[in-house]
Subunit: 716 residues, 2 copies
């Protein structure tokens, strides 16, 4: 690739980005798009749809940028909790790194690279015709002493990142502790989840839980709630929810006070629709009756899962019971701190220790296989898109395919489009795999999926793109660790132009389109005719951590690896991060609402992936310097990954425990604060209700008041 081509791409894609920006600035002001752009405010009732029209709505105003920029950390904390703050920390952290690495890269390394003549001489007179390779380390002459500049830069940047990582970890740790100190008493602080409770003949699970914990902790045991098997009820409830959606849609269509989106009036289908509505309502009533019967059956017949939420009078008591092995048999009475009530993932509760273990093993194996074998179907499908194949499959296309523009688009963009589409599959697949792994909370599923997507990205984009070739040859590379540095060193710099182009084109467009919510908007436009505006089932989305965190971290990884190989990549990454910084601060204020609070538990993932990036950078540097015939530099880099790993080990000891559990000191301090609080009795009473399975709550959709169920429940 030459400079002029890059500049052209950059121009086109920046224009697209500006277009998206303008579109975003206009479209976000249209009341009909509020679900897409400000669902959060809509849900809170802060923003009402204005039906009156004014000109201001059509003029793109960048006021939101300033608003997002001025948002203070405390405001962010109150809006999105500590998780939101930590999420922004990831972006600001990356920004800091890239600013530092960017200054060194552009001002020092880039001139050194251009100065060399290994690939070709830098042609200042004909700037646009220079190959991108001129800007990479490949252009430095073999054995040149200028390579020591790169060497020093690696040490400098590593030191800077480590320092930053340390301060950031310390800062987030302290935020986490002060967040805990400032928190009101919350159910999950006083609750543990006991799983694999043993069953005794003639004794219900509930009895055995009560006996066990009351006996062990007579002074601090409060009460408990046994988890029931409710998967069937959950299926029925989903069905009734769907039905209710349909009914409300039909209702709104026939309601003349609401704006008419639908074709009812035109085609005179209203009569048929009201018939349909009655049928649906009847069916809904049947299902809800069924749900009520099943609920009472579950409660009466005691379909108890081998799990229970156990409540304690103190946070310290709950922490003690969750940290110590309870039973003589370590596979029984497994305890852990309970997640927040609305963070509980109910479907996977009834598993035994063995089931959980096996499902975890299966999921780990499946994720690894999925990650490694992912490229096979992609390459196969991509293979179908070459012209001759298409002509064989769809003979009628032959004439169209002979047009040069069409064939260029197909051969140039289709394979990349297919890869992008397949890549879109990854986060949901990983989320699904994590959900069947036996996690008990949505947040841990999210964190686990985040890790999986991150590893997937690293493997498939870095390694698989770098080592083009079959899966087996990639495996053989991993099985020969000695050769990794030299192989990486030979392959990675050669891919520099590719990654620069990738970031400038596909990355730029896809990221900006996603940031400005173009795709959600398109989906919403497609869906609009089929939904009612008063559709109360549309929930406010929570941040899709497992999509966004791996992406930001992946850009961080690229930046760290390429800062000394091809510093040209850094300005683009910086620009992307600035964009993300603004938009995320805004997609927090208006769009995303936190569903649960992990208090920054994702930071260790960020920390680890940064350490991984640095070590990977060092390994590549070892290879590069060897390849460039500067063996002394190659040897002198070796201590760096060792020091980095030692630094990581220190951070693990110093900070990681804070993200795993709260200390006795802080738990007891909080408990003491509550001792004289009169409202605690009320709080204790509320604990049992906090951990009720939503599938066992009274159904809300149908108008029937559910007398039968309440009668039955009172019996139970």
């Amino acid at each position: 690739m030459i400079v002029s081509a890059l500049l052209t791409s950059l121009g086109i894609n920046t224009a697209l980005c500006v277009l998206f920006f303008i579109l975003y600035s206009i479209l976000r002001k249209q009341p009909s798009n509020y679900e897409v752009y400000v669902p959060r405010l809509l849900a809170k009732g802060t923003s009402r749809r204005q039906s009156h029209f004014n000109m201001e709505r059509l003029i793109p105003s960048p006021g939101w940028v300033g608003k997002a920029w001025r948002l203070s950390e405390e405001e962010l904390l109150s809006l999105s909790g500590l998780d939101g703050v930590v999420f922004m920390c990831i972006i600001t952290f990356s920004l800091k790194i890239f600013t530092f690495a960017g200054i060194i890269g552009i001002l020092v390394i880039l001139p050194v690279n251009c100065w060399g003549s290994n690939q070709q001489d830098f042609d200042i007179t004909n700037f646009a015709n220079n190959s991108l390779d001129v800007f990479t380390i490949s252009n430095v002459d073999n054995g040149s002493n200028w390579l020591w500049v790169h060497f020093s830069a690696i040490y400098l940047v590593t030191g800077f990142i480590c320092l930053l990582l340390f301060y950031e970890y310390r800062y987030i740790s302290s935020r986490r502790i002060s967040f805990f100190y400032s928190s009101k008493p919350q159910p999950h602080q006083f609750t543990i989840l006991a799983r694999s409770t043993p069953t005794y003949p003639g004794c219900s699970i509930s009895d055995s839980v009560e006996n066990f914990f009351k006996d062990l902790y007579p002074s601090i045991y409060l009460s408990h709630v046994v988890v029931h098997r409710t998967s069937k009820i959950r299926t029925l409830l989903n069905e009734s929810k769907q039905l209710y959606k349909r009914i409300t849609r039909l209702q709104s269509d026939s309601d003349p006070t609401l704006p008419q989106h639908n074709c009812c009036g035109i085609f005179g289908l209203c009569g048929r629709k009201s018939n349909l509505r009655e049928r649906y309502e009847k069916k809904l009533e049947d299902i809800e009756e069924n749900v009520r019967l099943k609920q009472s059956k579950v409660l009466l017949a005691g379909e108890e899962a081998r799990a229970a939420f156990v409540f304690f009078k103190t946070r310290f008591g709950a922490a003690t019971a969750s940290s110590l092995q309870q039973s003589i048999n370590p596979t029984l009475w497994n305890t852990e701190l309970a997640p927040e009530p609305h963070d509980v993932y109910w479907p996977f509760f009834s598993e035994s220790f063995m089931q959980r273990w096996i499902s975890k093993l299966v999921v780990v194996a499946a994720s690894i296989l999925f990650t490694i074998l992912f490229l096979i179907p992609v390459v196969f499908v991509q293979g179908l898109t070459n012209l001759s194949q298409l002509e064989v499959l769809f003979p009628f296309l032959t004439t169209i395919l002979t047009i040069k523009f069409v064939s260029q688009v197909i051969t140039g963009y289709l394979p990349s489009l297919i890869l992008q589409l397949f890549l879109k599959l990854v986060p949901p697949v990983m989320e699904f795999l994590s959900s069947i792994q036996g996690h008990i909370s949505h947040s841990s599923i999210e964190l686990s999926a985040t890790k999986k997507v991150l590893w997937f990205t690293i493997w498939n984009v870095i390694f698989a793109t770098v080592f083009s070739g079959s899966v087996l040859s990639m495996l053989s590379i991993l099985l020969d660790p000695k050769g990794i540095p030299s192989k990486l060193a030979a392959a990675v710099p050669a891919q520099a132009s590719f990654f620069i182009a990738y970031v400038v084109t596909t990355g730029w467009t896809s990221v900006s389109s996603e940031l400005f919510r173009i795709i959600p908007l398109i989906f919403s436009l497609i869906r609009r005719p089929f939904t009612s505006p008063s559709d109360e089932f549309e929930e406010v989305p929570s941040i899709p951590y497992h999509r966004d965190v791996p992406r930001i971290l992946f850009f961080g990884l690229l930046g760290i690896i390429y800062f000394f190989l091809a510093p040209l990549i850094l300005p683009f990454l910086l620009a992307y991060l600035c964009l993300a910084y603004i938009v995320f601060r805004n997609q927090f204020m208006n769009v995303y609402a936190p569903k649960y609070e992990t208090a920054g538990k994702c930071w260790p993932i960020v920390h680890n992936s940064m350490i991984f990036s640095m070590v990977l950078m060092h390994i590549i540097a070892v290879g590069i310097f060897a390849l460039k015939r500067l063996p002394l530099a190659s040897t002198l880099v070796v201590p760096l990954p060792i020091l980095t790993l030692l630094f990581n080990e220190y951070c693990r000891k110093r900070f990681l425990p804070i993200f795993v559990a709260y200390s006795a000191e802080s738990l007891i301090k909080k408990d003491r604060e509550d001792e004289n609080d009169a409202t605690m009795t009320l709080f204790y009473d509320g604990l049992v209700n906090a951990y009720k399975d939503p599938a066992l709550l009274p159904t809300q959709y149908s108008s029937n008041s559910g007398d039968l169920r309440s009668a039955l429940i009172s019996e139970a």
Copy 2:
């Protein structure tokens, strides 16, 4: 090697063994050898030296064999604690494996190997001239279907070992729990060790410990003892101990009522000796005075280390405080359950978190380097022993070296002897390394040294012997994991004859000489003229786990790997184990006394090394079947290591927690038992004294009553 040579070796070495056995049977009855053979009974006072002579003492009687055989497990438990039982379990466990593997190996695999003709045909008529290779898998023809016999045997033996491992783990776990249930209240159950206690200006460590724990655990905190910096006192005490030894020796020499071992009477040196004694006594008094001064200085000036033993009223309280992270800063107030009082390793207490961490890293690196680089000096020294080198170094030996027998001995035995001598260095070196690693108890130092010696043995004997070559080439093998099976398969069977010969000759002799305590006897004979018979400083030795466990496990490893490669090795291993079984049951009754009780904590090491052996066997099998051109069998072996590792993972979850900490259930149960026990107040009072640093106790040797010190201490 051919059969006749093996038989000759076997004959010679068995004769040696029988000789040792007879010597042992006679010598152990001589009162003058009681320190070597029955130090334990001597210490207990059960066995008195009989001074009258009778003929029975000179006749070798094998009565002790029967006595050792009849020793029941309960007797063993009362004699040597659970550790002794578990130690015997290792031997019986290996015996069971080898019996099963031996039956399959000798009855099924051996005939199949002999049947082949790859190396040479089995010559039944001239049995003694067969090469040992005839009995190994190398003799089976390539591609022969007989290899499926080996294949089935591998599955069968793996299954058997896993089954046995499971039952053994379960049995020892249950023993451990019942041992805890039946134990009396013991100081270490109620005590935690808090390290890295922070220092505040104007506040002693003792105050800050008291404030911290009294504040957090007001209802269960009892008291504490701060650890003092006593390394200087310890040096002085060692000096005074040495002096006291010399004085008592001089005293006994001049005491006419004691038997005269010494040359005093003959050479008329008694006068000079009594002068010497007076000088020593003066010096001893000076040192003890110094010790008392230093002791009082330490106590008065508060030379406190940043560590303290904290006592709780309940076992559960101590367990809670040790399992939860205490402070907001995870590097401060590190807590762990205290070791038994006499198991405490005092010298390394004053270290901070960082110091401990760094010393651990350094020790790990040093152990790895020592293990990997060990062979370099050995090979170098061995190189010096070739004839021409010796002739250059010691020209006067030239005539002797020309004698064929001498040169044969030198070239044949000297290198092996040098290796053996170097190997003797390993356990003490590893023990030293473990001792500076920051462990707080002798038992954990012992366990850590056991692991290190085990890995050392596995690396240097299996890998380094198998892959003869430089260290770097060995490293390059490890860095190319894909090639390991084929390389192992090519190298291991070729070493079969070597290992058979090794077990039959060097192994047999060195093991039996050690078992029958020949070397301790020789040492004792050498030392005898310089010690007095009433020398009360000779302590009863505790079992050198870090020497004996790795050796038994190494034999187990050999047996598991070679049972299908060269089953001929099994009978020898079995014979050795039987010998060890008898002798260890006896060197428990009479020799070794347990110094501390880990309640079988070494079993997980045994379990893990057995799993390692099996996986290594599977890897070799994969390579062997590929080499023998039976790729199907090679592929079908692959699931076996995966299943074995899964089994191991299950055991880790099911049993390992029991070896790490006691469960809340059992702790609370034990606490309840003590609730109504009136003697507990007395026990609580005794706790503080139990964890007194021995360096701060009153000195015993000199006759002075130490008025000054007691006065000073009462002031403090």
